[in-house]
């Protein structure tokens, strides 16, 4: 990776300023290197708190907001728990386009819209969820308008309004690490508080995962706090996970590639707005194919073809959705993937900045297509294969858009729509269900599992394991331009991390405890991505196999579902497009 701007080391004065700031902070270790693993928290003195509710909502983004509000409005007692802050973590602060289907403005019917998405997605979308998006998005936009969402650039306050009006409690900066199932029914969840040495147990009749998707903590996309936490917790208690072979194709720029704000600042600073029907076939992987063949950074020109037309082959786009190359003088290269488009194009005039720089692929490495990876739904209300456990938004593998970005602005709107529907469904269930009593022995073993990294005197730091995982998974010849030999090689490495290193992850403090859990979740997600990518012996949408470059409709009009077998091993099974899981 090259950059025209060198990365300066901190000056001595800056360095001393950091040191000075940190000396007064006894609970926090040094910022880098071995010293970060010096124990700071005594696991034997960690306290616990216990909370009871009807509906537990995990996650405080767009899906979590609507899940909590609509579950409350359906009559349930609701508790929200978030690893970050309401409206200020995950991808929600970054998403500013909200799709609405306004029948008074559209020339297409909802049927025609759904069919158009289906053609772009090569059948990979679930039309039930695509239609649901179109039917409900306008109502959700109206809710958001009432709360002031479209009048701000930072959405915490707009999100707080409906929560405060309804007196729905929110526990922020609490990381949930375990879903609790007993008697084949969801019974609650447990985790820990980042700001205190405290284990948190939440007992609930139903649980809604609004935990977003995740990546491998890549540089250049604001997804470093998302590590598939919901999917992995759910997988461990028997839920099915889907959509792992798809790839998000967002890029960053060659100047300061790790700086999300500088490369995507327009997205953070913009007031949210709505948009109507605009169906694309935004691959992302096509530009990554060019980067694989020629190296980064990418010059301008249409996806898959260099300016002089040297590069052919690679992923294909249906003719109906081909986009014309930009004319000379157009701003910037075409967007790489993404319902939000690529990084903002070059401004006209003014000093050159990061946004004028060439694009670099792989910024969102580890993330699948929005709404297409996560828990397998068994119905259109976001119920999973675990009774009482629901998911919504990027935590639900609804395949609303399919294995490709299709409708602009649908990611944010889809989270709102699915959150609201799952909220009402989880409330309905809670009203007719008794709280499942969790045996104390089960809670004790969960508590010990949570605290284990704090107790270890020797082992592996999560920062190192993450760095190794990034080295295995992020190369374009593993994650994006796939082939059997490299997928198998990467899988051997990931299995080593899973079996040998995860059991020895250690943490010095609550921050590192969070990193340890996130690292563990990323390793299992990597295994899912590799196994699903090996299994899908074709190329379709954002999944591209160099050794199987054609779309294979005879064998692959199917999604891949991943679940834990009776012996604990990872199992994969096909689910035909347009069908619900057989286990439902």
């Amino acid at each position: 990776m090259t950059s025209p701007v060198s990365t300066p080391c901190p000056s001595r004065r800056e360095f001393l300023a950091f040191g000075g700031a940190l000396t007064g902070l006894a609970a926090v270790g040094a910022s880098a290197g071995w010293a970060q693993n010096q124990p700071q928290v005594d696991a034997s003195t960690v306290n616990g708190t216990d909370h009871t509710t009807d509906v537990l909502v995990i996650g405080g983004g767009m899906a979590g907001l609507f899940a909590a509000v609509k579950a409350h409005d359906a009559g349930a007692r609701v508790l929200m728990v978030s690893k970050g802050r309401l409206g200020a973590s995950g991808l929600t602060p970054f998403a500013k386009g909200f799709f609405v289907f306004d029948p008074t403005k559209e020339t297409l019917s909802i049927d025609e819209f759904t069919e158009q998405v289906n053609r772009s997605a090569l059948g990979t979308n679930n039309p039930v969820f695509t239609r649901q998006l179109a039917e409900h998005a306008l109502d959700r936009a109206r809710d958001l308008k009432d709360w002031g969402f479209f009048d701000q650039t930072l959405c915490h306050r707009a999100f707080l309004k409906p929560m405060a009006d309804r007196k729905i409690p929110v526990m922020e900066r609490v990381m949930i690490t375990h879903l609790i199932k007993h008697d084949d029914q969801i019974a609650g969840a447990a985790g820990f508080r980042l700001d205190g040495e405290e284990i948190v147990v939440c007992r609930a009749k139903s649980v809604i995962l609004c935990t977003g998707a995740g990546g491998f903590k890549p540089s250049g996309f604001p997804v470093c706090d998302l590590t598939h936490d919901g999917s992995i917790m759910a997988y461990k208690i028997g839920a099915r996970i889907t959509g792992k072979e798809w790839n998000d194709g967002h890029s960053t720029r060659a100047v300061n590639p790790a700086a999300c704000y500088d490369n995507w600042g327009d997205m953070f600073d913009r007031v949210p707005g709505t948009n109507g029907v605009e169906v694309h076939h935004d691959l992302g992987v096509d530009a990554n194919y060019v980067a694989y063949q020629t190296g980064n950074p990418l010059p301008g020109g249409p996806p898959g073809v260099l300016a002089d037309g040297r590069i052919g082959g690679g992923p294909t786009t249906p003719a109906e959705f081909e986009r014309r190359a930009p004319e000379d003088g157009d701003a910037g290269p075409p967007p790489l993937g993404g319902g939000r488009g690529g990084p903002p194009g070059a401004g006209k005039g003014g000093a050159p900045g990061p946004m004028d720089a060439p694009q670099m692929g792989g910024a969102s490495a580890g993330m699948s297509i929005h709404k297409s990876e996560g828990l397998v739904p068994i119905d259109d209300r976001g119920a999973s294969t675990v009774p009482g456990l629901y998911a919504a938004g990027d935590a639900l593998g609804s395949h609303m858009s399919g294995g490709i970005y299709t409708q602009i602005g649908s990611s944010l709107a889809g989270s709102a729509v699915q959150g609201a529907i799952a909220g009402a469904a989880a409330a309905d269930l809670a009203m007719s269900t008794k709280l499942t009593v969790i045996p104390d022995t089960q809670l004790t073993s969960i508590r010990e599992e949570i605290l284990a990294p704090l107790r270890r005197e020797a082992g592996y730091g999560p920062a190192w394991v993450t760095q190794v995982l990034q080295g295995i998974m992020i190369p374009n010849f593993v994650l994006y331009i796939k082939k059997d030999s490299m997928l198998r090689a990467a899988l051997a490495y990931v299995e080593e991390l899973r079996d040998h290193h995860l059991p020895m992850l250690r943490a010095a403090d609550m921050h590192e405890l969070r990193l340890a859990v996130e690292t563990s979740n990323m390793v299992l997600s990597a295994e899912m991505k590799l196994r699903a990518s090996l299994m899908r012996t074709e190329s379709r949408c954002s999944h591209y196999r160099l050794d199987y470059p054609e779309t294979d409709d005879a064998n692959w009009r199917a999604w891949i579902n991943i679940y834990q077998g009776a012996d604990g091993s990872m199992q994969l099974a096909k689910q035909p497009f347009d069908a619900w899981p057989e286990s439902a």
Binding site: E14, A21, G33, P93, F94, Y261, F268, P354, W464
Partner: protein, 71 residues
Amino acid sequence: MTIKSINGCIGCGECVKSCPCDVIRLDPSTGKAVIAYPADCQICHLCRMYCPVDAIEISPDKTIPVIVAWG
């Protein structure tokens, strides 16, 4: 270095809460925000945007911390 400096902090904790990656903490002895885990900063500027007194300065540069082999 990601978050470059915090000057003029009033100790309100907005930045601590709004950092998605848990980079900032309040120093228990001074009550002021400090850059506790700079390696985990994703340079998203949410802390700066939520700060009510514009105390936070951020650089677009990111340096990878040294991690000891087999750490």
